[in-house]
Amino acid sequence: MIDKVLIANRGEIALRIIRACREMGIETVAIHSTADADAMHTRLADASICIGPPAAAESYLNKVAILAAAEISGANAIHPGYGFLAENADFAEMVIEHGLTFIGPSPDHIRLMGDKIQAKETMKARGVPVVPGTDGPVKGDVEARAAADAIGYPVLIKAVSGGGGRGMKVARNDQELDDGLRMARREAKAGFGDDRVYLEKYLERPRHIEVQVLADHHGQVVHLGERDCSLQRRHQKLVEEAPSPAIDDDLRSQIGETVSSAVADLGYQGVGTIEFLYENGQFYFIEMNTRLQVEHPVTEMITGVDLVRAQLHVARNLPLAISQADVRYEGHAIECRVNAEDPATLTPTPGTVHTYHPPGGPGVRVDSALYAGAKVPPYYDSLIAKLIVYDQSREACLKRLQRALAEYVIDGIKTGIPLLQAITQDPAFAEGDYHTGWLGEFMEGWTPPSY
């Protein structure tokens, strides 16, 4: 029976887990590096243990130190949060070998989904739509043309050994395909010593839509609808919302059922997120995250399901208390990630917070470990707060979000709040008319107000 949980994390997510544990009468143990000695999670947990120096590799990623901390504190379960060791199959395995409960899926499931090629094949075999493409490298131009016709233009030419955009070309017709193939092969040869290329459907302006699932150890799986996380910069999500402005009830249940049955077939347990690119009514699987997500609160707000409580519930081997028919979506929720960063350059701004006043009032939730006097150390992620706002409609939610952002006071360090304010005041965002490339384009024409 889980009665004492060690939280192998820091910041807002450590607080989120401490809160859920406390509400369930479960004791908590916080771990921290010397840099986090006065961090909020060490003060709110029932016990806290210093496990290493500031560098994450020697503290929050130090598997042996974390297990030793669990041992000396008498914790019988470990919650990894997100990031750090949350998707480290070896760590999950070590936790289990030491007779503790890992609050998450099995190491095998973590490993399977951690291998992006295997993950794609696994999902494809279970009826989950993936980005159409050639199964392997294309040989001649004739074969490439036939493949491109089958996939449908535009197509993306990608190097088998590629990465970082090199050896990648977009082709919109046969002529561009011939030229693109030659250039991609040459670049790939020069860059990776391997001129093999393959073709994939090119998505011009996709949205990032992800589906939340929850599964128990008794074969029951429910999905909790989607989150729209299309507002990203350099693949970092900044604003997330649920439900997505682009998905209707039919699409939602359709993709939800597809995902649920795949997850059930895998024998997966706990919370998980299946990420898709979405364009013109079609979903394309990207990856599955085998952990709690940063943006989980928007799902909690519209479904009323506490996902961390659900994780602990599943980890205790209890059957899910809800079935798919019990899942209801009510209202609209938007989350903004407040980062310690310069809103214009997006460079991190570690330092000390002098004045702190979080927004409040109806429908406002702030998940944060900040307080006046808190230090934001330079060693870890720059996420310092999540502002989650809920209201009956998207329109009302957006107004409430603008109101809440204007209330937020974080003095002493620069934060991304001015950028979040600009985004939420943009007409395209108000229309829900945005895609994964939108924020990058938006920022090119934006300068932060002087302050």
Binding site: M1, G25, D38, I51, P53, A68, G304, A321
Partner: protein, 177 residues
């Protein structure tokens, strides 16, 4: 909004009875905490309710940097202020020890053993002479015994941990004069 998952989980079902009762019982509080401390193997327990706050520790609080934190005011208070409040009360000797050139600190989190084997004689004792490189104690982490060696030759001025005590990273273990 309904939280369907609550149905099968009565609140506090798993809270140990002593934890639930603690803050209501005034006279037996210290005794209960001491028992809990012993049973859980922790070095300290700190409880707070409203303005009231109580802390029971088995040994001198560890490293100064951390001690400041552990003894700090309730979470609502900014630590900068808390540190100021705590600082004057801090044992001057602890300050001296923390900056002592012969301070030996835990290089890892784990369990301290002062003897080479259970029931054996301790590696060192207060007042005893030690040579540089001599084993002072062991910190066990995940079944691996890590010998902690003396950084210099001298005399053992004090030993801050007990046999079998859990130790945090960077915790002050002993002082070599």
């Amino acid at each position: 909004m309904a939280l369907p998952l609550e149905r099968e989980m009565p609140p506090d079902a798993d809270a140990p009875e002593e934890v639930r009762d603690l803050l209501n019982v005034d006279t037996a509080l210290i005794e209960k905490l001491a028992e809990l401390l012993q049973r859980t193997g922790l070095t300290e327990i700190e409880l707070s309710e409203g303005e009231a706050r109580i802390r029971v520790a088995k040994q001198p609080a560890p490293v100064v940097a951390n001690a400041t934190l552990h003894t700090a005011a309730p979470p609502a208070a900014p630590p900068a202020q808390a540190a100021v409040e705590v600082a004057p009360a801090r044992d001057a000797d602890t300050d001296a020890n923390a900056n002592h050139p012969g301070a030996v600190r835990a290089p890892m989190v784990g369990t301290a053993y002062l003897t080479p084997e259970p029931g054996g004689d301790p590696f060192v004792s207060v007042g005893g002479e030690v040579k540089e490189g001599q084993t002072l104690l062991i910190v066990e982490a995940m079944k691996v015994m890590n010998p902690i060696r003396s950084p210099r030759s001298g005399r053992v001025a004090s030993v801050m941990v007990g046999n079998g005590d859990p130790v945090e990273y960077d915790e002050l273990l002993l002082i070599i004069d």
